[in-house]
Amino acid sequence: MSFYAYKDIIEAGDLVLAFISRGATKPITVTPGEVLNTRYGQFEHDLMIGMKYGSQMAGKKGYGFIHLLHPTPELWTLSLPHRTQIVYTPDSSYIVQRLGVGPGSRIIEAGTGSASFTHSFARSVGDKGKVFTYEFHEVRYNEAKRELEEHGLMKNTVITHRNVCDDGFEIDNHKVDGDVVFLDLPSPWTAIPHLNKVIAEDRQVGICCFSPCIEQVEKTVKALEDDGWTSIEMVEVAGKRWEARKDMVKHVDDVVKRLKDIQDRKSQGIEKLRNVNSTAPSEVSSTESTPEPPSKKQKRDRGFNPFGKGTRIKEGDDQYEWRDVTKVESEIKSHTSYLTFAYKNPNRKV
């Protein structure tokens, strides 16, 4: 298992993301003898060993299942408990694209936070690049450090316990030489002046400051301008997730038929039968109708009921006509942070 490359077969000691359901992915370290308990059943680690990554795995009792996924920075982000602010993929993917992060990039990241973006950076810069990440909160620093070690990301990542706003970014034994800066700090403007000592002098450097409040942006823009950064632009990223659904087609002709049916039943006094347990509802007497399953026969006589009102209908049920529709999440992330981008150039031949 590695965040740098895929492997195919699960081995003992691997980090596996057990996909239980949408919104519930549990990271586990495959350990002989252990069992994963979920509301969809129990899953023995021993049986996972030797399975292919991506396999669907049945529960111990033969029903219920999970999927065994290989970790990636994005799936890892989804599996994180919301213990702290996370830079989500719509933001992080845009920052990486816009600042041209790639193999060989040298990243300065403060603070580390949940380290989810650190994973993404480490994956992208490869073994030719480097990620310097700083966290001032001691507990979070220790957690992140342990995690980065466990995930094997120390090959190209250096984590430092530091309040960069006071103490800057310099690190003993390392020439930071950063060309991409990401600041997710309450007051990035106090950190910006410290950057001059650690950013590259022979090429353009890009920065993104990530601030939830507009007033922080104003101060950040001022600090960037004062320090010679140019092409300053602030943007917001809005990410939405849509799901495919099906919506029943209800023709007005069927409404008219139903109203006529009610009229007929009324004039024939059939309405009186409503509360009697009818075993032969009128609507199945039609020769065109398909035979009803036994469960349906038990139901209350609803007369002609073209849209199945009052009964449980599975979305997409073949007995009805449907249209494909999309539905957005019921609660959307309407704001993460403002992203302030800028560039600094040596402004001389190099």
């Binding site: 490359a5 895929y6 195919d8 996909f19 359901s21 969809y40 292919k52 990554y53 396999s55 669907q56 795995m57 049945a58 529960g59 029903y63 219920g64 299942f65 065994l68 996924l69 290989h70 994005e74 993929t89 993917s93 845009y94 990486v96 694209q97 816009r98 041209g100 790639g102 193999p103 060989g104 490869g126 022979d202 090429r203 353009q204 507009i214 942006v217 104003e218 823009v221 001022k222 301008e225 010679g228 140019t230 092409s231 300053i232 943007v235 917001e236 990223v237 809005a238 939405k240 997730r241 849509w242 799901e243 495919a244 494909d324 529709v325 999309t326 560039y343 150039n345 040596p346 190099v350």
Partner: protein, 428 residues
Amino acid sequence: MNTKNRTVITANQHVLIRLPSEGTKIVELRPSGVVSLGKFGSFLVDGVLGYPFGQSFEIVEGQDVKPILSLQHSSDPKDVSEEPEGDLNKEELTKMFSENNQNIIDIGSKIQKLTNDDIEELKKSGATSSIGQHIIDQMIAGHEGFDKKTLFSQQKYLRRKQQKFLRRFTVEYLGSSQMLQYYIDKDLPRVIDLSEESLGLLMTYGNVRPGGNYLLIDETGGVVLYAMLERMGGEGQVVLVHENEHVNIIALRHAGYSEEYINRMVKTIDYLQFLEPENEKINWEDKSEEELAEMKSSKREQYEKRRERATAINSVIETVQNGNFDALISVSTLHQPTLLPRILDTVGGSRPIVIYNQYKELLLETQHVLTKDKRVLAPSIFETRVRPYQTIPGRMHPLMTMRGGGGYILWGTKVIPQEGITAVGRGI
């Protein structure tokens, strides 16, 4: 290997030129050559070489350039004490400052006394560094209401004029974002409405990184491929499926990659070869040394060509047959609901499936098909939109208009379903 220099402006490279009008241009920097920027003037290539990418310049005398801090800053970059805002005609602006725009009559161009002919005349009259500034000064003089505008609208007016006439430009590294930006400006249908943020999401959800082995469908003329190669840094492989006789990767013309590099990183295969591999494999048996020795040199050459082609085709067909790709990335106008089920099995377990489309409705159909198929876990449609702001201090607000669209991305994970498993509840 990739011979591109990503940090320093170097001769014989294609670069992106960004103009004050926010227009973009791709040019090749030929040593001792001259680059024409149309109404923004022209410059000598040698003047910009050796500076780092991202440097801005102003055309000073003839075709010479001097480095400047940015397109918005006329001054020498060493003089950083300069006020970043309103450096242009600040005195005049202040002199003409008026509290509000109560007395302005907003009847547009009528107020503008300088005719287009006047401007053309001015442009012809000199090639000095101050030509743009000179035109702007004349325009202010010819603008009856200028002193009645607010300081802010005066600045805005000047900025607009500045964008039209100042002879400034920035030389940027032609990265994938720049390449995409260029096509968005010039030929949006070519890149199927793809936005920079959607491209970024494609690369991230596709988990594109050094060493990966990817299956790609790319109808953008290679813009998506170019972004992948950028993320891979010369390690790994992309198998590119195409629908015509020959693959269209026109965007790579500007990439600066050697043919050898592209041949090593990118293998191409058409849909016929992909979907009917056994029929399309080329039966090939090497001729013996003796047979070869007997051949005429022209025949021999032909033989070697055919041999090369057969080896390449058979090799890429075998690659596809072996499968286990690290991702499927599709940016295509082909009907995905009927295509995907036929190619999904070439992707490895737990690897991402990432499908771009301009229209959400088409991904909707695709999602329904994939959900039924069971080989793709938790497919969802993602929409990402970036909204840029004006960041002038005290005047901060989102830009009033922006490009609509940008496309949608379906992302799911390739999985390996087991037969006969009963779900508890919904499971997925």
